[in-house]
């Protein structure tokens, strides 16, 4: 099951907090493909928020292809999005790496030095 933690003091609208956290759960795999999500009314009740907020969050998630809303039946985690998602994440990594490459070129860092640095950072992070 997913976790949703809402902050009232955050500048971010509540519906956005929900969509981001559900997206995260889907990406991480805590929410699996075809898994059923709570109804908008149930989610609103649990989080003590307006059904308009949960409805909007689900609509955004459906628009972005993360979930499928089947009227009268329920809301499910959509099928194909995981690969798509991974791809878009990889693209982000590529962009950041390119930035790092450009930065190291302009400060005369060699390829080996850059690899070494990346290795250290990668292992450190775990």
């Amino acid at each position: 099951m997913m976790d949703i933690v809402l902050s009232n003091s955050s500048e971010q609208p509540i519906y956005e907090q929900i969509t981001l956290q559900i997206k995260d759960s889907i990406i991480k795999g805590t929410l699996k493909e075809a898994e059923i999500l709570p109804s908008i009314r149930n989610l609103a009740k649990e989080l003590k928020i307006s059904v308009i907020t949960t409805k909007r969050a689900y609509e955004e998630l459906e628009r972005d292809g993360f979930i499928t809303i089947v009227p009268g039946k329920g809301t499910y985690v959509a099928a194909q999005n995981k690969d798509l998602l991974r791809e878009s994440r990889i693209r982000i990594v590529e962009e950041k790496l390119l930035e790092a490459v450009n930065a190291s070129k302009s400060s005369d860092l060699t390829f080996d030095e850059l690899v070494e640095m990346l290795k250290l950072l990668y292992e450190e992070d775990i």
């Binding site: 009314r41 009740k45 003590k48 928020i49 909007r56």
Partner: protein
Amino acid sequence: MEPILQIQNLRKEFKEFTLKDINLTLERGFIMGFIGPNGAGKSTTIKNILNLMNRDSGEIKLFGKDNVKHEIEVKNKIGFVLDESYYYEEITVLEMKSIMSSFYKNWDEAAFKRYLKDFGISPKKKIKELSKGMKMKFSLAVALSHHAELLIMDEPTSGLDPVVRSELLDILSDLMQDENKGVFFSTHITSDLDKIADYITFIDNGQIVFSAAKDDILDNYGLVKGPKELVCYNNPADFIGIRENQYGFEGLVQNKEEFRKSCKEKVVIEKPTLEDIMVYYTRSIPVIKKNDL
């Protein structure tokens, strides 16, 4: 489907106060909070909905039906909780229930017993022995036991402690699992509404200031804070209300994105609470600035 509650151009004149052309609509499946300062016209509006007061003009429809012409029929489908207790004080909860249940066509005794148990109300206690919170919960038990489709509450949380208020929110959000129900409640304790209300209708001085989805209100309005030297501060028309202190100002704007675009200076823009919005509207401009004094 017909709205569960619809008020059109409701007008009621008193010697020193007029309810001016009230319009609002509540669809099934939603909770509407009715906010405003004391004396703004909240109770007068509610009394008109319940036909406890004769209106001068306008129309009120409940479940698509006129609230006066079809009074008995619509009232069978309404549960109400009023600020003051309207029960006989000297009799027990059970005796009071017998009186109340005889008014309703769809009385559900099993449901009533379940609510009493859930709410922790002893059936043998006299009404006068119940605390304020217990009385409110008893009213709710009566309202819910005839399967009301629309719950109308006038200041249900005033004078109640935060624990009972949060219990009420639980009960309401339970009720709203049924998308055919509706809740309309007035309050001046807006923190309750910050949580579960879907729509907010704000009344001040007998007039509706706005009636809109709560999310839109809270996401659009902004509380701007900054030093008084700011150029952006010099156009009072941008602000709904302003509060000044020695070190700076705080003001409410209706559209924070627009303000952010037009004001190039460094200001803090925060998300207001409903209470902030209510206070800034009712404090009203023009604000007397220190220099003018």
